[in-house]
């Protein structure tokens, strides 16, 4: 966030419009009688404010307003067109008693753990390996990153075909070695495994690139010192690389938490609803993530108030998880 620049008389920049060094001066008590220059100072930068305004205007219209409007909606009953009816905390009471909501939370958490852990571990290992690669560096990096920029819908359709119960590629391969078909897309656990696998495949490369950037910032002298002290590659990894990379790991853990808990497209495309069954999430609703349940409640059942209640309850959960993550990852850092 940029705060309005503090401009005392001494801080008037030499040339028109230039930011001047005063911008980064520490805030201090303004001397009496400086009201006029301060106002002028704010107005003086109107071009800069105008230049950055498109983002904030769009942000206000399409993010800020809807977020708080949804909070308002969580206390109403509304079908999207008719008149709203204030119902107080009723939606949240329904939520508390709704087994499908709790099922969706469980599904989301399981899928999140099943995808985030292998994603981050895999990314760290891959980044370490790639860091020591001498040839075809560019090729490896691009190849590992490509899944992340592939259309998620295309990937989901592909996974759906590959893991198809009766005629999928995976079951066909298992069949050739004498293993009977595995119900990938109907067993409640395997459904989650397939979704998690899809997310792992998409996000490993992204995290790998971030880790790689972090690794490249570690001076080689540290490694040389470790080598001289007789540390092997495994020990170097755990005692040099991981501790130095801690802030980067923290970043990826938090981003993965936020992304992983918001899984929506993957199960939505894998288990598209059909006319016969309006419920989403596949057999047994085992792939019903919380966001998918929100989508179903609000946009398929026209119950916008309940949908809003679902996402706000879920928001609280994400906040709790991010704080827990933060505490775990930064543990022992200050002590």
């Amino acid at each position: 966030m940029t705060s309005p620049p503090v401009t005392g008389p001494a801080a008037v920049p030499e040339h028109r419009g230039g930011p001047g060094p005063a911008r980064f001066r520490p805030r201090r008590a303004t001397p009496a009688g400086t009201a006029r220059p301060k106002r002028r100072g704010l107005l003086k930068y109107w071009r800069q404010y105008l230049a950055i305004s498109p983002f904030y205007l769009i942000f206000a219209a399409f993010s800020f307003f809807p977020v708080f409007y949804s909070l308002y909606l969580a206390f109403q009953r509304w079908d999207g067109m008719g008149t709203m009816q204030f119902v107080g905390l009723q939606q949240f009471r329904f939520l508390w008693d709704d087994p499908v909501f709790w099922l969706s939370i469980r599904n989301t958490l399981v899928i999140w753990v099943l995808s985030t852990v292998p994603t981050l571990l895999g990314a760290l290992v891959l980044a370490t390996l790639l860091h020591s690669v001498r040839r075809f560096k560019g090729f490896y990096r691009i190849a590992l990153y490509v899944p992340n920029v592939t259309s998620i819908v295309a990937v989901a359709i592909f996974f759906g075909a590959v893991f198809s119960n009766n005629f999928g590629l995976v079951n066909a391969i298992l069949g050739t070695v004498g293993i009977s078909p595995v119900p990938w897309l109907s067993n409640p656990w395997l459904i989650k495994v397939v979704i998690a696998l899809l997310m792992t495949w998409m996000w490993t490369g992204y995290n790998m690139i971030i880790y790689l950037a972090g690794l490249q910032a570690i001076p080689t002298s540290i490694y040389e010192a470790a080598k001289m002290d007789g540390a092997g590659p495994v020990r170097t990894f755990f005692q040099i690389t991981v501790p130095i990379m801690r802030p980067i790991i923290l970043f990826t853990v938090i981003i993965s938490t936020i992304n992983g808990l918001q899984s929506f497209s993957e199960p939505q495309v894998l288990f598209a609803s059909n006319a016969a069954n309006a419920n989403l999430g596949g057999p047994g609703q085992a792939g019903l993530t919380t966001l998918l349940y929100f989508y179903q409640s609000a946009f398929l059942n026209n119950d916008y108030g309940y949908g809003a209640a679902i996402v706000w309850a879920f928001f609280l959960l994400i906040v709790v998880l991010v704080v827990v993550n933060w505490r775990i990852t930064t543990r022992g850092r200050k002590g």
Binding site: R47, L185, P283, G284
Partner: protein, 425 residues
Amino acid sequence: MDLSRRGFLQAAALTAAASGLTVACGGSSGSGGTKNGKNLTLWYWGGALSDKVVAEAKTHFASAVTLTTASIGGDFKQKLTTTLAAGTSVPDITGIKGEDIASFLPNASRFLDLNDLGFKKLSSQYLGWKTKLAQTKDGKQIGFPIDIGPTALFYREDFFAKAGVDTDPAKVAALVKTWDDYFQLGTELQKKNPGTYLVNNISSVFNIAVGQGTQRFIDKDNHFIGDQDHIHAAWTTAIRPYTLGIDAKINDQTWNAAVGKNLLTELGAAWHALDIEQAAPQTKGKWRVCANPVGPANQGGSYLALPKQCRNPEEAFKIISWILSPTNDARGFTDAAIFPAAPAAYAMPAMTGPDAFFGGQKIIEVFGPAAKAIPDSYEAPADAAVMAPYMTELTNIEAKGKKPDDAWKDAVSQAKQIARRQGVN
């Protein structure tokens, strides 16, 4: 003076802001037009209407109005809801899907009453049960029926012949008069055709069994009745093929691969013929159709409606009654496989021809009578949402081997909850 880059940027930014403002204002002032507008827009989705008939409508009415059509992709209902709620850029004529019509009825004030525009005189040409589904309790007609989805039993003639069953549609229909007869036939067929199944999943049985009745999950007084005998009977019927082992338990896209291989029959609406044809073109000529057990139900079938903001209601009504006249409705069947809601169309050459996919069978002889025999039923706005847990629990039985009795209890308790959330008492 230096007309610097900064100066240029300022001017550009101001121009952009000003034009944005103009557009915003222009948009809102455009909607408050008079009621004899010359430009009409029609929203529908791919396959809802015959594109040829729509194109002809444009030229047919060119002297009176300019008709612009938009084929809206994605979640049609959601887009229509948003537009109606916003109140601007509302289409003058819009399609509404059959499964969504009930949820628009509480907001009937957003639409024009077609009876005021002359639908009363035309309504006898269309199936009464279909018309009533788009009517409010006080008799306001918001939807003009496009098509319907009468159900029937599709069956594999070759599998039947192999089991020594007479494959003539009338004979098969007589064999499967009741659900019990149908399931019994299924077990016999399965013995002669190892590895095959009678039904693709038990949800399809439940869906039709519920649709055969006059009552669904919520009654006219807005009470939840999904725990009563009529639903429980449909549930018990649906469980039978599962316990008999003649249920293929297909609940995903693998249906596409299975339909040409190991399914003996398919329960579905008239439009389902196209699904089968596309999924299993190699089975051309091997399928037949006959009446499904007990009696027909309806699945799907859409409407055209005129939102309140319609800029020229008289002309718009003329257009929709032209597009949906029995003659043009019959053409919709040829062009887009939409089954007309006007019974007069069933006798027209467009519909009475033999169908090569069904071995030259005249399938209208099955669907025509079925269409007329579908019972009047009441579908509450929350019906689709309340029905969903039953479907999910039926899937749970198939996928997880959940005990049918437990599944029933869970389905009812969840349906009750959803009903309460939706304001049903």
